[in-house]
Each structure stands twice: as structure tokens, then as C-alpha cells.
């Protein structure tokens, strides 16, 4: 399983755009990149998933460069309710589907 590296913590302010970058140098050809959000004492919640280039949904955007060795989760105009831990996962489409979590990035949004 490819290992991911992301910052332990980040701070931002309401209304700003937040970009969280994740490194996954050993990503395999069949691997997808998935981001989860977790609030205290709750289960992780799926945010977005992509394979290459750019993916956008109603919550976030995911930017993946051509070499796919990193990815950036972009949260537009964050609010206080976006304070959470964000996990970057690399998951193989083939074989068993086992989301493997690192320590994640703790994002704190200030007023």
C-alpha cells in the first residue's frame, strides 16, 4: 500500500481558501486518491476521489499533477464548521478495498 505524507496541522480563517497537499511517491498505476473528513467522535466522511488532473464536487476540488506523486485538496471559502481532521488515502482499485489512514491534517478555522 502506498504511504502518504501530509502536514500534521494547518490554520486558516473564515472565508479563505485552504489547500492541503499530500505526498504519495509510491502510488501505483491502479491507485485512486481519496480524501476523508473527520469530526471529533464521528466516523470519517468521504469528501472527494480522483485519479488524475482535476476533480470538483460541491464540497471541494482535488488537483492531481501528471506524475500523480502528490495531490492537493482545495476547500473554497472555509467556515468554522470545516474545522476537522482531513485524511489523504491512496487506494488500489484492484484487490481488497481497505482504506488505510495516516495521522491526517488537523485544520483549525478561526473566526
Amino acid at each position: 500500500l502506498a504511504k502518504t505524507t501530509q502536514p500534521i496541522s494547518m490554520d486558516s480563517y473564515e472565508g479563505q481558501e485552504v489547500n492541503i497537499t499530500c505526498s504519495h511517491n509510491n502510488i501505483a498505476t491502479n491507485d485512486y486518491i481519496t480524501w476523508y473528513q473527520q469530526f471529533p467522535s464521528q466516523g470519517p466522511r468521504f469528501i472527494i476521489q480522483g485519479y488524475k488532473t482535476k476533480v470538483t464536487n460541491e464540497v471541494a476540488s482535488l488537483f492531481i499533477p501528471a506524475d500523480r506523486k502528490s495531490s492537493t485538496l482545495s476547500l473554497p471559502r472555509v467556515s468554522l464548521s470545516d474545522t476537522a481532521v482531513y485524511y489523504c488515502l491512496v487506494e488500489g482499485e484492484g484487490g481488497s478495498y481497505i482504506p488505510t489512514f495516516g495521522r491526517g491534517t488537523s485544520l483549525i478555522v478561526h473566526p
Binding site: 485512486y32 481519496t34 467522535s41 464521528q42 466516523g43 470519517p44 466522511r45 468521504f46 476521489q49 485519479y51 481532521v85 485524511y87 482499485e93 484492484g94 484487490g95 481488497s96 478495498y97 481497505i98 482504506p99 488505510t100 489512514f101 495516516g102 495521522r103 491526517g104
Partner: protein
């Protein structure tokens, strides 16, 4: 759709006791994975069940066992509880890889907070 449901939400046990946690997967999902999350850490994979069999297992001792029923629901059993077993236990459901599209994600329950005293 109720999503993934876990019971109980909170539980207090004494060291040495045994505990059973339960999980009902999201409707249509056939695979259940269990995770242990200690305070301040990411979820750690315990094992995964598909077709009523344990398919993969993480680095957890045999005190941790599980079961999946024909309706895809699952149980996690922990024997001889230790203080270090205190954690949030999460259940995640998904579709077996051969049955899912590229963009299908795992759905997590709210977890069971286990405290061992």
C-alpha cells in the same frame, strides 16, 4: 437509507472482560471493515469481512475476532480486554471491488466509544 449503523454508541467494560460490537452496513454494500481509532490517531485497520469470511487482517492480536452474517451485518468481538483497548471502534461498509465503480467510497458509521477501566 440509514447508512452505516453501529451499536452501542458508548460502552464501559472492566479489564479482562469480553465485548461485542455490532455494525449494519449501508444498504447495498456487501463488505464490512473494522477500525480502531485511539485518541489523536488515524483509524487503524483491524480486519475486513466479505461473504461471511475474514478476508484481510491488520496487525491486531487474536483477541480481536469478528463475524459477518448472511445479511452482511457484522460483529467485532474483543476478549480479555486491556486498558489499551480503549478507543473509538469504527465500522466501514463498501462494495466488493469487483462489484463497484471507480468512484465508490467507503461509508463509516459513527463508531462505538469503548472505555476499559
Amino acid at each position: 437509507d440509514a447508512g452505516v449503523t453501529q451499536s452501542p454508541t458508548h460502552l464501559i467494560k472492566t479489564r479482562g472482560q469480553q465485548v461485542t460490537l455490532r455494525c449494519s452496513p449501508k444498504s447495498g454494500h456487501d463488505t464490512v471493515s473494522w477500525y480502531q481509532q485511539a485518541l489523536g490517531q488515524g483509524p487503524q485497520f483491524i480486519f475486513q469481512y466479505y461473504e461471511e469470511e475474514e478476508r484481510q487482517r491488520g496487525n491486531f492480536p487474536d483477541r480481536f475476532s469478528g463475524h459477518q452474517f448472511p445479511n452482511y451485518s457484522s460483529e467485532l468481538n474483543v476478549n480479555a480486554l486491556l486498558l489499551g483497548d480503549s478507543a473509538l471502534y469504527l465500522c466501514a461498509s463498501s462494495l466488493e471491488p469487483g462489484h463497484r465503480q471507480h468512484d465508490t467510497e467507503a461509508f463509516f458509521g459513527q463508531g462505538t466509544r469503548l472505555t476499559v477501566v
